[in-house]
């Protein structure tokens, strides 16, 4: 009963979908590419991709490795952005403290929403998270400190740890990259820990996990909070990087967009959400110049993904490679 086109429990490198050595080589290559990327691509665009990639990876932790489809992750992403922007701009927090405050808020909100949502399963879980995040949206819409439609603008970027000047594009890019890598490593650790194995067991067969004596709900809640905190990290970093926290990031359309990124890249694969986030962000960027409205594009991708390739891009590659190696 999980949305992931799941295979039985696998070890660390299989989660990447590739063999041992090839996998490591690819990771090193990807790291080098990320470090060198600002030479070739506009850093602001890369920063946007990294923020969404972390957001999607956090969301994927829940849907891909626990089998819980949250339709309300924008509440953590956008909520943390508001808190970070407000604490930095109005209370004079340093960037690192502001980001910490945003993450703490997202984790707390995740604890509350998760506690309510895990009381229902499957399709209801999706509807409950959607409804709760809509409630969060209305609260932010009405709360005076968010300046409703205007959002919190011109958030000062300041000095990270008192030395790194975030108002310059390159230091900003490498800071965001650092936060992204931190999040990815954390997700990788969670997925490949005994804790992660129990999460996968819950995804594969919840009644059986219960019968083995696991407090399933505690594990689900813990995963929900971790996922929410990481989504918050993505939002908090985005608020600093773009000097803006706005309503767009709390809407259910944003929750939908992160689902699409993950679905397109491959649910339950470590790199899928990153690929998906890059593709969707790039697509929106290039189609913004054409007359095709963004929702039509996003919706069309959804329909295509669901009807044609439910494994996603990375999932499909993994599947092909596996089929070949088993021959």
């Amino acid at each position: 009963m999980s949305i992931a086109t799941s295979t039985p429990l696998k070890t660390a490198n299989d989660a990447l979908g590739i063999g041992h050595l090839v996998g490591r080589a690819l990771i090193v290559l990807a790291l080098l590419a990320l470090i060198a990327a600002p030479l070739a691509v506009y850093p602001v665009f890369l920063i946007k991709i990294l923020c969404f990639a972390l957001f999607a990876a956090a969301f994927n932790l829940l849907v891909g490795y626990v089998g819980l489809l949250s339709f309300g992750h924008a509440a953590f992403f956008g909520g943390a952005a508001y808190i970070t922007a407000h604490t930095v701009k109005e209370w004079g927090f340093t960037p690192e403290l502001g980001i910490l405050a945003g993450v703490a808020f997202a984790a707390t909100l995740g604890l509350v929403m998760g506690f309510l949502a895990i009381r229902r399963q499957g399709i209801y879980f999706a509807m409950v998270t959607l409804a709760l995040s809509q409630m969060v949206y209305f609260v932010f819409l009405q709360a005076p400190f968010t300046h409703s439609e205007d959002g919190i603008q011109s958030v000062p970027q300041g000095l990270l740890f008192g030395i790194i000047d975030l108002s310059k594009p390159l230091p900003l890019y490498y800071t965001v990259l650092g936060a992204f890598l931190l999040g990815m490593v954390l997700i990788w650790r969670v997925v490949n820990s005994p804790f992660g194995n129990i999460l996968a067991a819950i995804r594969e067969n919840e009644p059986r996990a219960i019968s083995l004596g696991y407090e399933v709900n505690r594990y689900k809640l813990a995963a929900f909070v971790i996922s929410a905190a990481l989504a918050g990290l993505a939002g908090a970093v985005k608020a600093i990087a773009f000097q803006l926290a706005s309503l767009v990031d709390v809407t259910w359309q944003m929750s939908g967009e992160v689902i699409l990124m993950t679905l397109l890249g491959g649910i339950g694969t470590l790199l899928g959400p990153v690929v998906g986030a890059a593709l969707v962000t790039a697509m929106e960027h290039y189609f913004a110049a054409t007359s095709i409205p963004a929702p039509v594009l996003i919706g069309g991708c959804f329909v295509a993904c669901v009807m044609l390739f439910r494994r996603g891009i990375v999932g499909e590659i993994r599947h092909r490679l596996k089929a070949r190696s088993s021959r």
Binding site: L116, R119, V128, A131, M135, Q142, S291, G300, V303
Partner: protein, 295 residues
């Protein structure tokens, strides 16, 4: 002036009427969602879109073909139901064997596409749609002034809800539907065409949403965005009511609409979130929903 809890009774009854009207739409929409989910196991995210399409179709029928409200009340739901037939035949049909979440995501994608296209072609601004001449004007009920059309909406949606309830509980077709909900394999073995039944059910749900849309057209402005936030409220209504029972969906719809109206009187800031708060409380106290059984 008569007052109740320090507020003029007109204000309270006015908001209650608005609540009752919203409740009528919640009831019609959650009823359709519950029927579709009951048989197809599909959460129809496009339900709000179908509601919007009902209103827009009625508006188009009026402005392009000069077809008035009364024929539209039948025509628009039929047209949207046919669109529903296409969705079921072209897409949903292939997803029945998979996890339910895929059909949710599919209908979500379709909803985004349709709304995006409509906004592109129709413009985001609301268009007025006047009620039929027969139903304009007001009656004075003594304690409040009731616009006739609003009274009509409440009555019409009650009739629609009850007819659907009768259709499902008291007719042969309804018996097939209920049986197929319990065990579709067995029903098919008895020679009932279950795939056709599934298509019909989806059309019925879509048609009900469109009917709500036509009824809503003269009250709210007709706009491509009128359904997109509504669907989330209806989801909350459905979680509160539990999707196990048709009557549960109807009763919960009206009750939450009224509650929302009351909140507007006493604490307006909370009126947009009160239904979600109720949902959270129900999840804490009775996770399966007020009328539901745990699936």
């Amino acid at each position: 002036m008569t007052t109740l809890f320090g507020l003029p009774i007109q204000a309270i009854s006015g908001q209650l009427l608005i609540g009752l009207i919203n409740g009528s739409f919640y009831a019609l929409l959650s009823l359709g969602l519950a029927i579709i989910f009951g048989l197809l196991r599909v959460i129809n995210f496009a339900h709000g879109t179908q509601y919007m399409l009902g209103a827009v179709t009625a508006w188009l029928l009026l402005t392009v073909l000069n077809i008035g409200f009364w024929p539209s009340l039948v025509l628009a739901p039929l047209i949207v139901a046919v669109a529903g037939l296409l969705i079921e035949r072209l897409f949903l049909r292939y997803l029945y064997g998979l996890d339910h979440l895929y059909s949710l995501l599919l209908t979500f994608g379709l909803a985004l596409m349709i709304e995006g296209l409509m906004r592109d072609g129709f413009g985001a601004a609301g268009k007025p749609y006047s009620p039929p001449a027969l139903l304009t004007g007001v009656v004075n009920l003594g304690f409040m002034i009731l616009p006739i059309y609003r009274g009509f909406v409440v009555v019409a949606s009650l009739i629609a809800c009850l007819s659907v309830w009768l259709l499902i509980e008291k007719t042969k077709l309804g018996a097939y539907l209920r049986a197929a909900t319990e065990n579709s394999g067995l029903v098919q073995a008895f020679g009932v065409n279950v795939p056709k039944l599934l298509t019909f059910t989806y059309m019925l749900g879509a048609g009900l949403a469109a009917l709500a849309g036509v009824l809503a057209a003269p009250i709210y402005q007709v706009s491509p965005l009128m359904g997109s936030n509504l669907i989330i409220i209806v989801f909350a209504v459905v979680v509160v009511g539990g999707m196990g029972s048709i009557m549960g969906a109807i009763v919960t719809g009206y009750a939450l609409g009224l509650l929302e109206g009351l909140t507007k009187v006493f604490y307006p800031q909370a009126s947009s979130i009160v239904i979600f708060v109720v949902m959270a409380i129900v999840l804490l106290v009775r996770p399966a929903g007020l009328f539901g059984r745990e699936a």
